[in-house]
Amino acid sequence: MIEIVDIWKSFSRKKILCGVNLSISDGEIMVIIGGSGAGKTVLLKHIIGLLKPDRGQIFINSISLSTAATSHLEKIRKQFGMVFQSSALLNSLTVWENVALPLIEHTNMSTEEIGKLVSEKLNLVQLHGIEREMPANLSGGMKKRIAVARAIIRNPAIILYDEPTSGLDPVTGHSIENLIVDLKRNLNVTSVIVTHDIEGACRMADRIAMLLHGEIVEVGTPSETRKSSNPAIRQFLQYEK
Protein backbone atom coordinates (compact mmCIF):
# COMPACT_ATOMS: atom_id res chain seq x y z
CA MET A 1 0.00 0.00 0.00
CA ILE A 2 1.43 3.34 -1.08
CA GLU A 3 -0.18 6.49 0.26
CA ILE A 4 0.84 9.87 -1.06
CA VAL A 5 -0.57 12.58 1.15
CA ASP A 6 -0.50 16.23 0.12
CA ILE A 7 2.97 16.34 -1.45
CA TRP A 8 4.39 19.75 -2.34
CA LYS A 9 7.67 20.26 -4.16
CA SER A 10 9.30 23.20 -5.84
CA PHE A 11 12.73 23.67 -7.40
CA SER A 12 14.12 27.18 -6.86
CA ARG A 13 10.67 28.82 -6.64
CA LYS A 14 9.31 26.84 -9.61
CA LYS A 15 6.35 24.88 -8.23
CA ILE A 16 6.27 21.35 -9.61
CA LEU A 17 3.96 19.45 -7.27
CA CYS A 18 1.20 21.33 -5.46
CA GLY A 19 -0.62 18.98 -3.14
CA VAL A 20 -0.56 15.56 -4.79
CA ASN A 21 -2.80 12.95 -3.17
CA LEU A 22 -2.92 9.38 -4.39
CA SER A 23 -3.17 5.97 -2.84
CA ILE A 24 -2.18 2.77 -4.57
CA SER A 25 -3.25 -0.56 -3.16
CA ASP A 26 -1.29 -3.82 -3.15
CA GLY A 27 -1.20 -5.63 -6.47
CA GLU A 28 -2.59 -2.67 -8.34
CA ILE A 29 -1.24 -1.30 -11.60
CA MET A 30 -1.44 2.47 -11.37
CA VAL A 31 -0.56 4.45 -14.46
CA ILE A 32 0.28 8.12 -14.11
CA ILE A 33 -0.15 10.16 -17.26
CA GLY A 34 0.55 13.80 -17.83
CA GLY A 35 2.25 16.18 -20.23
CA SER A 36 5.98 16.52 -20.64
CA GLY A 37 7.40 18.46 -17.71
CA ALA A 38 4.29 17.90 -15.59
CA GLY A 39 6.38 16.42 -12.79
CA LYS A 40 5.73 12.71 -13.28
CA THR A 41 9.36 11.73 -12.80
CA VAL A 42 9.62 14.03 -9.78
CA LEU A 43 6.56 12.33 -8.24
CA LEU A 44 8.00 8.86 -8.90
CA LYS A 45 11.28 9.82 -7.24
CA HIS A 46 9.36 10.93 -4.18
CA ILE A 47 7.72 7.52 -3.87
CA ILE A 48 11.11 5.83 -3.47
CA GLY A 49 12.57 8.60 -1.32
CA LEU A 50 15.15 9.93 -3.80
CA LEU A 51 13.58 13.38 -3.45
CA LYS A 52 12.21 14.80 -0.22
CA PRO A 53 8.92 16.70 -0.36
CA ASP A 54 8.79 20.30 0.86
CA ARG A 55 5.55 19.37 2.56
CA GLY A 56 3.45 16.24 2.90
CA GLN A 57 4.11 12.60 3.59
CA ILE A 58 4.50 9.33 1.78
CA PHE A 59 3.64 6.07 3.52
CA ILE A 60 4.80 2.68 2.33
CA ASN A 61 2.76 0.05 4.16
CA SER A 62 1.94 2.70 6.79
CA ILE A 63 5.62 3.58 7.36
CA SER A 64 6.45 7.19 6.65
CA LEU A 65 9.40 7.66 4.30
CA SER A 66 10.28 11.09 5.65
CA THR A 67 10.75 9.96 9.24
CA ALA A 68 12.56 6.71 8.40
CA ALA A 69 16.27 6.66 9.28
CA THR A 70 18.76 5.98 6.49
CA SER A 71 19.27 2.35 7.52
CA HIS A 72 15.52 1.84 7.66
CA LEU A 73 15.11 3.53 4.30
CA GLU A 74 17.52 1.02 2.82
CA LYS A 75 15.37 -1.79 4.20
CA ILE A 76 12.19 -0.26 2.78
CA ARG A 77 13.86 0.16 -0.59
CA LYS A 78 14.65 -3.54 -0.79
CA GLN A 79 10.95 -4.06 -1.54
CA PHE A 80 11.27 -1.73 -4.53
CA GLY A 81 12.49 -1.96 -8.06
CA MET A 82 12.80 1.12 -10.22
CA VAL A 83 13.23 1.67 -13.94
CA PHE A 84 14.61 5.14 -14.62
CA GLN A 85 13.52 7.18 -17.60
CA SER A 86 17.19 7.31 -18.63
CA SER A 87 17.67 3.61 -17.71
CA ALA A 88 20.58 4.64 -15.42
CA LEU A 89 22.63 1.49 -15.98
CA LEU A 90 26.10 1.53 -14.45
CA ASN A 91 28.34 2.27 -17.41
CA SER A 92 31.42 0.73 -15.86
CA LEU A 93 29.79 -2.70 -15.57
CA THR A 94 28.74 -5.23 -18.20
CA VAL A 95 25.08 -6.00 -18.86
CA TRP A 96 25.39 -9.21 -16.83
CA GLU A 97 26.94 -7.38 -13.88
CA ASN A 98 24.30 -4.66 -14.06
CA VAL A 99 21.41 -7.09 -13.84
CA ALA A 100 23.17 -9.25 -11.25
CA LEU A 101 24.26 -6.33 -9.06
CA PRO A 102 21.36 -6.38 -6.55
CA LEU A 103 21.90 -10.12 -6.06
CA ILE A 104 25.68 -9.83 -5.76
CA GLU A 105 25.33 -7.05 -3.18
CA HIS A 106 22.48 -8.41 -1.08
CA THR A 107 22.58 -12.20 -1.25
CA ASN A 108 25.08 -15.01 -0.83
CA MET A 109 24.04 -16.81 -3.99
CA SER A 110 26.65 -18.62 -6.03
CA THR A 111 27.62 -17.28 -9.44
CA GLU A 112 25.75 -20.15 -11.17
CA GLU A 113 22.53 -19.40 -9.30
CA ILE A 114 22.85 -15.71 -10.10
CA GLY A 115 23.64 -16.50 -13.72
CA LYS A 116 20.50 -18.63 -14.02
CA LEU A 117 18.31 -15.83 -12.64
CA VAL A 118 19.98 -13.21 -14.83
CA SER A 119 19.38 -15.12 -18.05
CA GLU A 120 15.82 -15.89 -16.95
CA LYS A 121 15.06 -12.19 -16.47
CA LEU A 122 16.86 -11.19 -19.66
CA ASN A 123 14.70 -13.74 -21.50
CA LEU A 124 11.61 -12.11 -20.05
CA VAL A 125 12.61 -8.81 -21.68
CA GLN A 126 13.51 -10.57 -24.95
CA LEU A 127 17.26 -10.08 -24.77
CA HIS A 128 19.75 -12.85 -25.40
CA GLY A 129 23.47 -13.12 -25.86
CA ILE A 130 24.38 -9.59 -24.79
CA GLU A 131 25.55 -10.42 -21.28
CA ARG A 132 29.16 -9.45 -21.97
CA GLU A 133 28.38 -6.15 -23.72
CA MET A 134 28.94 -2.77 -22.09
CA PRO A 135 25.83 -0.56 -21.77
CA ALA A 136 27.46 2.20 -23.84
CA ASN A 137 27.38 -0.08 -26.90
CA LEU A 138 23.64 -0.75 -26.73
CA SER A 139 20.59 1.00 -28.14
CA GLY A 140 18.26 3.05 -25.93
CA GLY A 141 15.51 0.44 -26.13
CA MET A 142 17.90 -2.34 -25.14
CA LYS A 143 19.10 -0.33 -22.16
CA LYS A 144 15.50 0.27 -21.12
CA ARG A 145 14.82 -3.46 -21.16
CA ILE A 146 18.00 -4.24 -19.22
CA ALA A 147 16.86 -1.68 -16.67
CA VAL A 148 13.56 -3.57 -16.43
CA ALA A 149 15.44 -6.84 -15.94
CA ARG A 150 17.53 -5.23 -13.19
CA ALA A 151 14.44 -3.86 -11.47
CA ILE A 152 12.69 -7.25 -11.35
CA ILE A 153 15.71 -9.41 -10.53
CA ARG A 154 14.93 -9.65 -6.80
CA ASN A 155 11.18 -10.08 -7.29
CA PRO A 156 10.32 -6.82 -5.52
CA ALA A 157 6.82 -6.18 -4.19
CA ILE A 158 6.61 -2.70 -5.73
CA ILE A 159 8.04 -1.68 -9.09
CA LEU A 160 8.19 1.88 -10.37
CA TYR A 161 8.52 2.28 -14.14
CA ASP A 162 9.39 5.65 -15.68
CA GLU A 163 8.27 5.33 -19.29
CA PRO A 164 9.07 1.62 -19.69
CA THR A 165 7.87 1.40 -23.29
CA SER A 166 9.08 4.68 -24.74
CA GLY A 167 11.69 4.15 -27.42
CA LEU A 168 10.61 0.55 -28.03
CA ASP A 169 9.08 -0.84 -31.22
CA PRO A 170 5.39 -1.81 -30.84
CA VAL A 171 6.13 -5.53 -30.60
CA THR A 172 8.74 -5.25 -27.85
CA GLY A 173 6.65 -2.56 -26.18
CA HIS A 174 3.71 -4.96 -26.02
CA SER A 175 5.86 -7.70 -24.57
CA ILE A 176 6.97 -5.34 -21.78
CA GLU A 177 3.34 -4.43 -21.12
CA ASN A 178 2.48 -8.13 -20.91
CA LEU A 179 5.41 -8.68 -18.58
CA ILE A 180 4.13 -5.97 -16.23
CA VAL A 181 0.64 -7.47 -16.22
CA ASP A 182 2.03 -11.00 -15.72
CA LEU A 183 4.08 -9.85 -12.72
CA LYS A 184 0.88 -8.56 -11.15
CA ARG A 185 -1.10 -11.73 -11.95
CA ASN A 186 1.55 -14.20 -10.84
CA LEU A 187 3.33 -12.40 -8.01
CA ASN A 188 0.80 -9.73 -7.01
CA VAL A 189 3.36 -7.01 -7.74
CA THR A 190 2.28 -3.40 -7.22
CA SER A 191 3.27 -1.27 -10.20
CA VAL A 192 3.40 2.46 -10.67
CA ILE A 193 3.94 3.35 -14.30
CA VAL A 194 4.61 6.76 -15.77
CA THR A 195 3.85 7.04 -19.46
CA HIS A 196 2.68 9.27 -22.28
CA ASP A 197 1.16 6.37 -24.13
CA ILE A 198 -2.52 6.43 -23.16
CA GLU A 199 -3.35 3.41 -25.33
CA GLY A 200 -0.80 1.30 -23.52
CA ALA A 201 -1.98 2.76 -20.24
CA CYS A 202 -5.51 1.59 -20.92
CA ARG A 203 -4.28 -1.91 -21.75
CA MET A 204 -2.26 -2.32 -18.55
CA ALA A 205 -3.83 -0.17 -15.91
CA ASP A 206 -6.20 -0.98 -13.12
CA ARG A 207 -6.49 2.73 -12.60
CA ILE A 208 -5.15 5.77 -14.42
CA ALA A 209 -4.22 9.03 -12.70
CA MET A 210 -3.81 12.29 -14.58
CA LEU A 211 -1.19 14.71 -13.29
CA LEU A 212 -1.86 18.29 -14.35
CA HIS A 213 -0.53 21.58 -12.99
CA GLY A 214 1.05 19.81 -10.03
CA GLU A 215 -2.08 18.00 -8.92
CA ILE A 216 -3.79 14.69 -9.61
CA VAL A 217 -6.90 15.95 -11.37
CA GLU A 218 -8.59 12.62 -12.02
CA VAL A 219 -8.22 8.99 -11.04
CA GLY A 220 -10.26 6.22 -12.63
CA THR A 221 -10.34 2.87 -14.39
CA PRO A 222 -9.40 2.85 -18.07
CA SER A 223 -13.05 2.82 -19.16
CA GLU A 224 -13.84 5.72 -16.84
CA THR A 225 -10.84 7.59 -18.21
CA ARG A 226 -12.00 7.03 -21.78
CA LYS A 227 -15.39 8.51 -20.91
CA SER A 228 -13.92 11.37 -18.87
CA SER A 229 -15.17 14.86 -19.51
CA ASN A 230 -11.93 16.45 -18.28
CA PRO A 231 -10.63 18.55 -21.19
CA ALA A 232 -6.97 17.65 -20.53
CA ILE A 233 -7.75 13.93 -20.72
CA ARG A 234 -9.96 14.40 -23.77
CA GLN A 235 -7.03 16.11 -25.46
CA PHE A 236 -4.71 13.23 -24.59
CA LEU A 237 -7.21 10.72 -26.02
CA GLN A 238 -7.88 12.78 -29.11
CA TYR A 239 -4.25 12.96 -30.24
CA GLU A 240 -3.60 9.32 -29.51
CA LYS A 241 -5.26 8.09 -32.73
Binding site: K45, L50, E74, K75, K78, F84, L89, N91, S92, E105
Partner: protein, 260 residues
Amino acid sequence: MNSRATSFLGRTGTGILNGFAGAGGTICLLGKGIYWCKASIPNRSKIVHQMDVAGVGSLPVVSLVAIFSGMVLSLQTGIELSHFHIEEMVGSIVSVSMFREMGPVISAIIVAGRVGAAMAAELGTMRVSEEIDALETMSINPVRFLIMPRLAALVLMLPVLTVFGILIGIFGGAVIAKNIMNVDYQVFLQNGIDFLHYKDIFSGMTKSVVFAFLIAGISCYQGMNAAGGAEGVGKATIRAVVLSFLFVLIFDYFLTRFFY
Protein backbone atom coordinates in the same frame (compact mmCIF):
# COMPACT_ATOMS: atom_id res chain seq x y z
CA MET B 1 25.90 52.07 -6.05
CA ASN B 2 24.33 50.98 -2.83
CA SER B 3 22.66 48.02 -4.45
CA ARG B 4 25.93 47.06 -6.13
CA ALA B 5 27.62 47.09 -2.74
CA THR B 6 24.93 44.91 -1.21
CA SER B 7 25.03 42.47 -4.10
CA PHE B 8 28.82 42.28 -3.74
CA LEU B 9 28.44 41.63 -0.02
CA GLY B 10 25.71 39.14 -0.75
CA ARG B 11 27.87 37.25 -3.21
CA THR B 12 30.86 37.27 -0.87
CA GLY B 13 28.66 36.01 1.94
CA THR B 14 27.20 33.26 -0.21
CA GLY B 15 30.69 32.31 -1.32
CA ILE B 16 31.93 32.03 2.25
CA LEU B 17 28.86 30.04 3.30
CA ASN B 18 29.28 27.71 0.31
CA GLY B 19 32.92 27.26 1.26
CA PHE B 20 31.99 26.21 4.77
CA ALA B 21 29.23 23.94 3.47
CA GLY B 22 31.72 22.32 1.09
CA ALA B 23 34.29 21.85 3.83
CA GLY B 24 31.66 20.37 6.13
CA GLY B 25 30.36 18.11 3.40
CA THR B 26 33.85 16.93 2.52
CA ILE B 27 34.69 16.11 6.14
CA CYS B 28 31.35 14.34 6.54
CA LEU B 29 31.94 12.30 3.36
CA LEU B 30 35.46 11.40 4.55
CA GLY B 31 34.03 10.29 7.89
CA LYS B 32 31.49 8.05 6.19
CA GLY B 33 34.19 6.71 3.87
CA ILE B 34 36.39 5.81 6.85
CA TYR B 35 33.40 4.24 8.61
CA TRP B 36 32.67 2.01 5.61
CA CYS B 37 36.25 0.73 5.60
CA LYS B 38 34.79 -1.84 7.98
CA ALA B 39 33.36 -3.43 4.83
CA SER B 40 36.70 -3.51 3.07
CA ILE B 41 37.11 -7.31 3.14
CA PRO B 42 33.99 -8.14 1.09
CA ASN B 43 34.77 -5.21 -1.22
CA ARG B 44 38.45 -5.99 -1.63
CA SER B 45 38.20 -6.59 -5.38
CA LYS B 46 36.94 -3.02 -5.85
CA ILE B 47 39.79 -1.68 -3.71
CA VAL B 48 42.39 -3.67 -5.63
CA HIS B 49 40.95 -2.39 -8.90
CA GLN B 50 41.20 1.21 -7.69
CA MET B 51 44.73 0.58 -6.40
CA ASP B 52 45.68 -0.58 -9.85
CA VAL B 53 44.09 2.46 -11.52
CA ALA B 54 45.39 5.01 -9.03
CA GLY B 55 48.73 3.54 -8.00
CA VAL B 56 50.16 1.39 -10.75
CA GLY B 57 48.81 3.75 -13.40
CA SER B 58 50.55 6.74 -11.83
CA LEU B 59 53.90 5.01 -11.50
CA PRO B 60 55.41 6.08 -14.86
CA VAL B 61 54.53 9.77 -14.42
CA VAL B 62 55.66 9.85 -10.80
CA SER B 63 59.00 8.25 -11.72
CA LEU B 64 59.59 10.63 -14.57
CA VAL B 65 58.79 13.75 -12.55
CA ALA B 66 60.71 12.47 -9.51
CA ILE B 67 63.88 11.63 -11.42
CA PHE B 68 64.03 15.04 -13.04
CA SER B 69 63.28 16.80 -9.75
CA GLY B 70 66.12 14.89 -8.11
CA MET B 71 68.44 15.77 -10.99
CA VAL B 72 67.57 19.48 -10.90
CA LEU B 73 67.88 19.59 -7.13
CA SER B 74 71.28 17.94 -7.28
CA LEU B 75 72.48 20.21 -10.07
CA GLN B 76 71.29 23.47 -8.51
CA THR B 77 72.63 22.80 -5.02
CA GLY B 78 75.76 21.07 -6.29
CA ILE B 79 76.81 24.10 -8.31
CA GLU B 80 76.42 26.39 -5.30
CA LEU B 81 78.14 23.96 -2.94
CA SER B 82 81.09 23.57 -5.30
CA HIS B 83 81.84 27.30 -4.82
CA PHE B 84 82.61 26.39 -1.22
CA HIS B 85 84.28 23.10 -2.21
CA ILE B 86 81.79 21.05 -0.23
CA GLU B 87 79.97 19.47 -3.18
CA GLU B 88 80.06 16.06 -1.45
CA MET B 89 77.31 17.48 0.84
CA VAL B 90 74.89 17.37 -2.10
CA GLY B 91 73.85 13.85 -1.09
CA SER B 92 72.47 15.00 2.23
CA ILE B 93 70.54 17.91 0.72
CA VAL B 94 68.97 15.77 -1.98
CA SER B 95 67.94 12.94 0.31
CA VAL B 96 66.67 15.12 3.16
CA SER B 97 64.64 17.41 0.92
CA MET B 98 63.32 14.45 -1.06
CA PHE B 99 62.10 12.69 2.08
CA ARG B 100 60.75 15.71 3.89
CA GLU B 101 59.25 17.72 1.12
CA MET B 102 59.71 16.96 -2.54
CA GLY B 103 58.69 13.29 -2.55
CA PRO B 104 55.36 13.68 -0.73
CA VAL B 105 54.40 16.92 -2.50
CA ILE B 106 55.39 15.85 -6.02
CA SER B 107 53.52 12.55 -5.73
CA ALA B 108 50.49 14.25 -4.22
CA ILE B 109 50.34 16.88 -6.96
CA ILE B 110 50.60 14.28 -9.70
CA VAL B 111 48.02 12.06 -8.06
CA ALA B 112 45.68 15.03 -7.53
CA GLY B 113 45.94 15.95 -11.20
CA ARG B 114 45.65 12.43 -12.49
CA VAL B 115 43.61 10.38 -10.02
CA GLY B 116 41.66 13.14 -8.26
CA ALA B 117 40.47 14.55 -11.58
CA ALA B 118 39.45 11.08 -12.75
CA MET B 119 37.54 10.43 -9.52
CA ALA B 120 35.64 13.71 -9.76
CA ALA B 121 34.83 13.22 -13.44
CA GLU B 122 33.77 9.61 -12.99
CA LEU B 123 31.60 10.19 -9.94
CA GLY B 124 30.23 13.41 -11.43
CA THR B 125 29.17 11.59 -14.59
CA MET B 126 27.53 8.90 -12.49
CA ARG B 127 25.71 11.57 -10.51
CA VAL B 128 24.32 13.47 -13.49
CA SER B 129 23.37 10.29 -15.36
CA GLU B 130 21.38 9.13 -12.30
CA GLU B 131 23.61 6.08 -11.73
CA ILE B 132 24.08 7.06 -8.09
CA ASP B 133 20.31 7.45 -7.66
CA ALA B 134 19.93 4.00 -9.20
CA LEU B 135 22.37 2.56 -6.66
CA GLU B 136 20.33 4.11 -3.86
CA THR B 137 17.10 2.61 -5.18
CA MET B 138 18.83 -0.79 -5.08
CA SER B 139 19.71 -0.17 -1.39
CA ILE B 140 23.37 -0.07 -2.35
CA ASN B 141 25.11 2.56 -0.27
CA PRO B 142 27.05 4.78 -2.70
CA VAL B 143 29.65 5.60 -0.05
CA ARG B 144 30.42 1.93 0.53
CA PHE B 145 30.20 1.04 -3.15
CA LEU B 146 32.04 4.00 -4.73
CA ILE B 147 33.79 6.21 -2.18
CA MET B 148 35.33 3.72 0.25
CA PRO B 149 37.28 1.75 -2.41
CA ARG B 150 38.68 4.97 -3.89
CA LEU B 151 39.62 6.37 -0.49
CA ALA B 152 41.21 3.15 0.74
CA ALA B 153 43.12 2.66 -2.51
CA LEU B 154 44.54 6.17 -2.45
CA VAL B 155 45.53 6.03 1.22
CA LEU B 156 47.34 2.74 0.56
CA MET B 157 48.93 3.71 -2.73
CA LEU B 158 50.03 7.32 -2.29
CA PRO B 159 52.65 6.48 0.39
CA VAL B 160 53.94 3.68 -1.84
CA LEU B 161 54.19 6.06 -4.79
CA THR B 162 55.89 8.58 -2.52
CA VAL B 163 58.58 6.15 -1.37
CA PHE B 164 59.11 5.09 -4.94
CA GLY B 165 59.38 8.72 -6.09
CA ILE B 166 61.84 9.54 -3.30
CA LEU B 167 64.14 6.65 -4.17
CA ILE B 168 64.07 7.44 -7.88
CA GLY B 169 64.67 11.13 -7.16
CA ILE B 170 67.69 10.33 -5.02
CA PHE B 171 68.99 8.04 -7.74
CA GLY B 172 68.64 10.85 -10.30
CA GLY B 173 70.43 13.23 -7.95
CA ALA B 174 73.27 10.76 -7.47
CA VAL B 175 73.76 10.30 -11.21
CA ILE B 176 74.05 14.06 -11.72
CA ALA B 177 76.39 14.43 -8.70
CA LYS B 178 78.66 11.74 -10.14
CA ASN B 179 78.72 12.97 -13.71
CA ILE B 180 78.82 16.72 -13.19
CA MET B 181 80.20 17.35 -9.72
CA ASN B 182 82.30 14.21 -9.66
CA VAL B 183 80.88 13.05 -6.32
CA ASP B 184 81.18 9.28 -5.90
CA TYR B 185 78.00 7.27 -5.50
CA GLN B 186 79.28 5.95 -2.20
CA VAL B 187 80.03 9.41 -0.81
CA PHE B 188 76.66 10.69 -2.02
CA LEU B 189 74.83 7.80 -0.38
CA GLN B 190 76.83 7.92 2.86
CA ASN B 191 76.16 11.65 3.20
CA GLY B 192 72.50 11.09 2.46
CA ILE B 193 72.15 8.43 5.14
CA ASP B 194 74.21 10.29 7.76
CA PHE B 195 72.08 13.42 7.66
CA LEU B 196 68.72 11.68 7.41
CA HIS B 197 66.76 11.34 10.67
CA TYR B 198 63.90 8.99 11.38
CA LYS B 199 61.79 12.08 11.84
CA ASP B 200 62.34 13.06 8.20
CA ILE B 201 61.08 9.72 7.03
CA PHE B 202 58.18 9.75 9.47
CA SER B 203 57.08 13.29 8.62
CA GLY B 204 57.27 12.58 4.90
CA MET B 205 55.12 9.48 5.23
CA THR B 206 52.60 11.24 7.49
CA LYS B 207 52.31 13.98 4.90
CA SER B 208 51.61 11.55 2.11
CA VAL B 209 48.86 9.82 4.12
CA VAL B 210 47.26 13.17 4.97
CA PHE B 211 47.50 14.26 1.32
CA ALA B 212 45.79 11.04 0.24
CA PHE B 213 42.83 11.76 2.53
CA LEU B 214 42.67 15.34 1.26
CA ILE B 215 42.75 14.42 -2.43
CA ALA B 216 40.26 11.56 -2.11
CA GLY B 217 37.90 13.55 0.12
CA ILE B 218 37.89 16.68 -2.03
CA SER B 219 37.65 14.87 -5.36
CA CYS B 220 34.92 12.46 -4.26
CA TYR B 221 32.89 15.24 -2.68
CA GLN B 222 33.10 17.40 -5.79
CA GLY B 223 32.13 14.46 -8.00
CA MET B 224 29.23 13.36 -5.80
CA ASN B 225 27.85 16.90 -5.79
CA ALA B 226 28.17 17.62 -9.50
CA ALA B 227 25.00 18.97 -11.06
CA GLY B 228 23.93 20.20 -14.44
CA GLY B 229 25.09 17.80 -17.13
CA ALA B 230 28.45 17.66 -18.86
CA GLU B 231 29.27 21.25 -17.97
CA GLY B 232 28.66 20.53 -14.30
CA VAL B 233 31.00 17.54 -14.45
CA GLY B 234 33.68 19.74 -16.01
CA LYS B 235 33.31 22.34 -13.28
CA ALA B 236 33.40 19.68 -10.56
CA THR B 237 36.61 18.28 -12.04
CA ILE B 238 38.26 21.70 -12.16
CA ARG B 239 37.27 22.40 -8.56
CA ALA B 240 38.54 18.99 -7.45
CA VAL B 241 42.01 19.58 -8.95
CA VAL B 242 42.38 23.22 -7.90
CA LEU B 243 41.18 22.60 -4.35
CA SER B 244 43.34 19.49 -4.01
CA PHE B 245 46.47 21.42 -5.10
CA LEU B 246 45.62 24.26 -2.76
CA PHE B 247 44.92 22.12 0.28
CA VAL B 248 47.93 19.88 -0.30
CA LEU B 249 50.16 22.96 -0.16
CA ILE B 250 48.36 24.52 2.81
CA PHE B 251 48.52 21.29 4.81
CA ASP B 252 52.13 20.83 3.73
CA TYR B 253 53.04 24.12 5.39
CA PHE B 254 51.20 23.38 8.62
CA LEU B 255 52.48 19.82 8.85
CA THR B 256 56.03 21.09 8.38
CA ARG B 257 55.43 23.65 11.14
CA PHE B 258 54.06 20.88 13.30
CA PHE B 259 57.05 18.57 12.81
CA TYR B 260 59.94 21.05 12.87
